[in-house]
Subunit: 385 residues, 2 copies
């Protein structure tokens, strides 16, 4: 009997997560023509129930079309297996005679692979393939999915800066990122002149306060007549706790109507604080939320290829046993490498300190250089004001 | 001395508003090689001060590059001239010997042209060129800027439906549109199967209540396991007033902290109501806000051409006197026509009643047909769940 590869997707979606599935499936077909590749529906949740999709039955054309489909096309989950869950998942892997289980996701997913690997006892290779728009995996220069999402964010802030150049005011775009500011920082990738926005960039790696915000926005407005702010959902308040959490508590304690507040609280609080401090000024705050994660037509070519290559690499090195695939940069090229599951599982990579300026309110030269190395070039625009 | 055309941009930005400027400038150059085309900085605000940009000095290549720049590249304004303002603006037009003033914008901009035309007394042609992502101008099948913005919204909901197919839950995307639901309705353009989202579409043209929302979301979840909602910022509450306004008052009255609420209130209230009604369910609400208006790289080819053609047409027919340019559809082609300024100024076009279903909670066949006539085709995706 030929080799059997089982593959699954965990956590949030990206524009290129299906590329990794297609890369694995096509590499298995190429290396082992008699192999079988089974996708599980909804990650380990489907694995536990033996809910498989036979990817070997798909034509190469369909696999390529699947690869170009944004979001997790096999379905995803945030389940974290306990002992019993693990045993059930392993029983299904044994039942189909799996040689390797490839699980695509972030550090939680790497953690699941570590747990499964420990329980399995060596007969199956547990391979974690990287994926996260947050770009917060250690042992990776950047992660598949990040470039495409960052591209979306860069384009958004390029446009919003032009918008407020045309009609002055204050704009804040709230970008996903609970711990790491990489995605928010991408808003600054395409700045060309000193006056270009975003003029203020707030990320979870640095302190933040409403008082600081008002002061800094005032200073920027004085200089440029407008102020564009990129802010992570995960910015911390003065007490070191996520501001979003503190705000939620405050608002829920104070409000007595039947209106409950959640989700966009941060944007609402920021809009309120800015409108109060700068009355009569045009203020707008939007929550980009899920939009940058897997926007159709915005899968970057490099990102697509790298995600595909991670799937190829997972299959190509499966015989060497369990590992996490890390996308590493050697100064010239970005290539997948085998790293220990334990080196990645549960760990969060933050932005290197030199990516931000010393005030912690903007992206510094090292950060811009990193973003420009990864992202497509700025579109050739020519505003006349 | 050759002819003099003055051109300006008013109101919110679009992805193609600069196409109309370029179309006018290039047509003036072609028809009248000795003509002069002056752009005003920030609409009538710059006109009043004589703040001009000489577009005749730009090469065709630069004008084409300007055309492809998203957002109002001459600057914009929402100023509504009073008598004195009018006189100052007219004085500047006379000073440069203007034969025509072309003002690109929505129904407010048409109103400004009507006021200027009345005050000027016939020596200058005041031409309103259409532009709005809201698509709410009468005498137009659709308006330049709408197709590109609608394309963005269609792509967003395609992706979000895939996202929640991969991991179940409830999602609401709040889309701009105070009076007309065209842009929100565009979220439904690419639905292919009955189970595809958005499953609920709420627009200002129809009644809305939180109670109705909770009931309808419950019914959709029972059927499909997920629920994707597209909602206009301008949905009306049970009292017939914009819900956003009522909510703002409620929250401001109830909250005693230093947090003032504004802007994203609607999204926050919707998220709160859904989380309360469906505890333990994944709920997310995002405010798309300004993102769809002029996203770089998402200027639709038809939209670009039509916006350009409106500028060409304005110059080509300027000798016939003041008018509004209306993009009209004859059943086969969409072509610009001259219509009276008074027919457009201050009027708001709503969605035709048959664009929505009888429950007022989803786009009906006529609406989908309209959207599919305008938008690019759905991308060829292949999710496997």
């Amino acid at each position: 009997m030929g080799k059997v590869f089982v593959i699954a997707q965990g956590g949030g979606p990206t524009a290129v997560i299906n590329q990794t599935v297609a890369g694995a499936a096509l590499e298995a077909r190429r290396r082992h023509p008699d192999s079988k590749v089974l996708g599980t529906r909804h990650g380990v949740r489907g694995l536990r129930k033996g809910d498989f999709i036979d990817l070997s039955a798909l034509s190469e054309a369909d696999l390529r079309r699947f690869a170009d489909t944004p979001n997790a096309g096999l379905g995803s989950t945030r389940d974290k297996p306990d002992d019993k869950y693990c045993e059930e998942a392993l029983a299904q892997l044994r039942k189909v005679g799996a040689n390797a289980f490839i699980y695509i996701g972030g550090n939680d997913t790497a953690g699941t692979q570590q747990i499964l690997d420990r329980s399995a006892g060596g007969n199956i290779a547990f391979i974690h393939a990287p994926k996260t728009v947050d770009n917060d995996l250690v042992e990776n220069d950047h992660t598949p999915g990040y470039i495409s999402a960052a591209w979306f964010v860069a384009g958004a802030f390029l446009s919003l800066d032009l918008d407020f150049r045309a009609m002055p005011g204050i704009y804040a775009g709230i970008v996903m990122g609970r711990h790491a500011g990489f995605l928010t920082a991408a808003g600054a990738a395409w700045r060309a002149r000193e006056e270009d926005g975003p003029h203020l960039v707030y990320v979870p790696e640095h302190g933040f306060s409403m008082k600081q915000l008002i002061y800094e926005v005032g200073a920027v407005r004085e200089k440029y007549g407008r102020c564009i702010i990129a802010m992570s959902e995960g910015v911390l308040g003065e007490d070191g706790r996520p501001l979003l959490e503190s705000l939620r508590e405050t608002i829920e304690r104070d409000a007595h109507g039947n209106i409950q507040l959640a989700g966009g609280d941060l944007g609402v609080a920021i809009a309120g604080a800015l409108s109060t401090a700068f009355p009569k000024v045009r203020v707008r705050v939007d929550t980009f939320g899920y939009l940058p994660r897997a926007y159709p037509g915005m899968a970057d070519a490099t990102d697509r290829q790298e995600a595909f290559d991670c799937g190829v690499f997972a299959v190509a090195t499966a015989e060497e046993g369990s590992c996490s695939v890390g996308l590493q940069f050697d100064g010239t090229r970005t290539l997948p490498r085998r790293v220990a599951l334990g080196a990645v599982a549960g760990k969060t990579r933050l932005m290197p300190p030199d990516f931000m300026n010393s005030d912690g309110n903007n992206v510094a030269a090292a950060g811009i250089a990193y973003l420009q190395r990864l992202l497509p070039p700025r579109p050739p625009i020519l505003p006349l004001i």
